[in-house]
Symmetry: C2
Subunit: 228 residues, 2 copies
Amino acid sequence: MEWIGFDADDTLWENETFFRSTQAGFARLLEGHAPPERIAAHLFDTECRNLARYGYGIKGFMLSMVQTALELTENRLPGEAVAEILAMGQEMLAHPVHLLEGAAGAVEALSDRRRILITKGDVLDQERKIALSGLAERFDAIEIVQHKTPDAYAAVFARHGITPDRFLMAGNSMNSDVLPVLQAGGNAVLIPHDLTWLHEQGDDPDHPRFHRLERIADLPALVAKLTP
Amino acid sequence: MEWIGFDADDTLWENETFFRSTQAGFARLLEGHAPPERIAAHLFDTECRNLARYGYGIKGFMLSMVQTALELTENRLPGEAVAEILAMGQEMLAHPVHLLEGAAGAVEALSDRRRILITKGDVLDQERKIALSGLAERFDAIEIVQHKTPDAYAAVFARHGITPDRFLMAGNSMNSDVLPVLQAGGNAVLIPHDLTWLHEQGDDPDHPRFHRLERIADLPALVAKLTP
């Protein structure tokens, strides 16, 4: 493998855990209006309905929380609760970046390959996290895309002169980091995170260019095995 | 001039007019709580305070409207009003793109130069407008940046091998399209829009590489005059 692609959220650093703790606070805010499972299901549904409109990222998540709260209370939501939702989102936006165990070491150990960070979502928020991660300088290229589709990967390959079969993408999401890369002719390794958003889950594909690891710390060994 | 840079919002297509009509609806929503000027001033202040956090774009504007309404009513904002603000923002996100008079013709007339679209803001929303504009295919390159700083322009120049003194940026904003380009060594032409956001205004610089036009339709003639 000449090129190693790294997903960022929940592959290099924590992300979903902040969404989950915010969701827990959101459910507490609405207790009395609906049971926690119904709140979570309605929020997930609102996020999915809004994905084409808002894209991925915290600002869209904030707007979906406000909308969900209004819908669940039939607009009988006190202003304080709306203000609380805004404050929760602003806290997420200001949150420090926590690198996952082994992430920095794996990126460092692969310095003899070309390393490219490929992440999706809100550009401003992703740039903030990349800067705070301290890893920005390690990458030969950084790509922030709106959706990780096969076409989006093909465009990244074209932009950097990447030969797909010499590219390995490492990430925690089957739907974003694995399947579209395989479709675009690349190799992919799934490194699941304890918390992976429902929208990102999927079954293991039966594919010769698919791999799976438990820990990102094992990525350098996999790369060495694939290209001795 | 070998390269012509085009700003998008309020240079090629209407943008501020939609913000203004939404702001008028927002002021109507809050009438009884504050006079219109105070509502507008408070919204502008909230937007400025949130710029580093939310960046440019409609989602951040929606969140700033909700926050402003809460602050002006001391959280006594009915849920219906919050729902109305979300609906106004979603309408902006779905709004068709109206090209400004002469914009398509000017872009077309400069087909013997290299044309690059340089816009700032929310990537998803900018991509939507670029696609709807019907102009995407006319450009040799499209750059969506977070802030139009001298460094951001220098990075665009480096990425595309642009010699600054052979680059002319055309746009409606002194602070985003003119001053940072001059600082980065390029040429700039201000084409004011009737409605230019307060945050973007500024005095004409006394600078040999600065130009001013009343209408984008005159841009091809200016380019011909500068590089006969």
